[in-house]
């Protein structure tokens, strides 16, 4: 839908993608490093008592060095992940819900050709990081646009709730067959996608005391983004 050169949410989205991918990579690499340490410890215990170790002092030295190097590699990862978390500075400020929805819809990158879009959003002002909130809405909106495959309807309904604001995005697509899987990072059924959109939206909702819920209706899907900042 965006016709301009600049994507107003590009920076916050990049920061999120880097943070999530670093975090997942750190988890996987950490498991590998921890396995190496476990095995080095085992070998050190076994070989350390053998004749081989007394014949060649470098064996024990190298086994100890494996542990030291693994610890150093883990520290490097930790520093990098700390850095990636600081790329987006959050500013909680009064944000118009209507403006956030407008930014999200205007900057969406999925095609709207053949899609009837209806917006019925109650106006409110909430304390939240404007870019993060608009990004969360855009992720849900893009997911709906992609679900209708250039033919159908997407309806956005926004309402004030006792403790925040709720946005419901209805689409007339096929529905979400595996709602649990939709939140699995890097899981997608769509070619050319990386499968992080709804996950990003859920993380942002949780950051602001809310949640993201998915339901399949008789026709299409319903995704509800609730924030309670």
């Amino acid at each position: 839908m965006s016709s301009g050169w600049r994507d107003p949410l590009a920076a916050v989205e990049r920061a999120y993608l880097l943070d999530r991918s670093t975090s997942l990579l750190r988890h996987d690499v950490r498991n590998k490093l921890a396995s190496i340490r476990n095995m080095a410890f085992y070998l050190s215990k076994r070989v350390g008592k053998s004749a081989l170790a007394s014949e060649d002092a470098r064996i024990e030295l190298f086994l100890r060095q494996i542990d030291t190097e693994v610890t150093a590699a883990d520290d490097l990862f930790e520093h990098f992940s700390t850095f990636s978390r600081t790329l987006h500075v959050r500013i909680k400020e009064p944000v118009s819900t209507g403006a956030a929805i407008a930014v999200a819809v205007d900057s969406a990158r999925a095609s709207t050709v053949g899609v009837a879009i209806a917006i019925d959003a109650e106006e409110a002002t909430i304390q939240i990081d404007a870019s993060e909130y608009a990004l969360a809405i855009r992720c849900v909106f893009e997911n709906a646009l992609e679900a209708v495959h250039l033919e159908g309807t997407v309806e956005i309904v926004g309402r004030v709730t006792p403790n925040g604001y709720r946005i419901e995005v209805h689409d007339s697509g096929q529905g979400i067959a595996q709602p649990d899987e939709a939140f699995r990072e890097f899981f997608t059924t769509k070619a050319g996608h990386i499968g992080l959109g709804l996950n990003i939206a859920r993380n942002i909702a949780k950051r602001y005391g809310g949640q993201l819920q998915i339901a399949t209706r008789d026709e299409g899907a319903l995704v509800v983004l609730q924030v309670s900042p």
């Binding site: 975090s23 988890h27 996987d28 950490r30 498991n31 590998k32 396995s35 476990n38 085992y42 215990k45």
Partner: protein, 146 residues
């Protein structure tokens, strides 16, 4: 020098739930060799559920990976409490867990910890479990009876 992890006298059983094969295998070997426990392993949420439902009561300790595929490891906590009420639950994690996770389990240990300290932390959980069992078997004289 840090003391060696104590070999637990009785052969207690531990359920180790972790989706990383190499980590699961290497930690199981260390637990068996260094602490002397019997280790059952599960690599998925479903496999862990099955083991707990079949023989939850045998476990003195359940070690849960914090990120277990699409399920956070702590989602198994209610089932462990139900099927293995006497078992201690410890999260073995690659990253600092949230406060909610810390409060839901009996202990947390980071995978980045030096191995002797990691084994020591796990031994301590087993010792707590053993003390609780002994106290139950030998209630204080004059204490409440059922």
């Amino acid at each position: 020098m840090r003391p060696e992890p104590r070999i637990i006298a009785a052969r207690l059983a531990v359920l180790l739930v972790d989706d990383d094969e190499a980590y699961r295998f290497s930690l199981a070997v260390l637990l068996e060799d260094e602490i002397g426990v019997e280790v059952d392993v599960a690599s998925t949420y479903d496999e862990a559920t099955q083991k707990l439902e079949e023989a939850g009561n045998k476990y003195a300790l359940v070690l849960l990976d914090q990120m277990l595929g699409s399920h956070p490891g702590q989602t198994l906590v209610p089932l462990v409490r139900e099927r293995a009420p006497a078992a201690r639950i410890m999260v073995v994690s690659g990253a600092e867990p949230s406060r909610a996770v810390e409060e839901a389990v009996d202990g947390v240990v980071l995978k980045t910890l030096a191995i002797p300290r990691l084994l020591e932390a796990i031994s301590r959980q087993l010792e707590v479990r053993e003390s609780a069992t002994i106290a139950l078997q030998n209630p204080t004289p004059g204490g409440p009876t059922r």
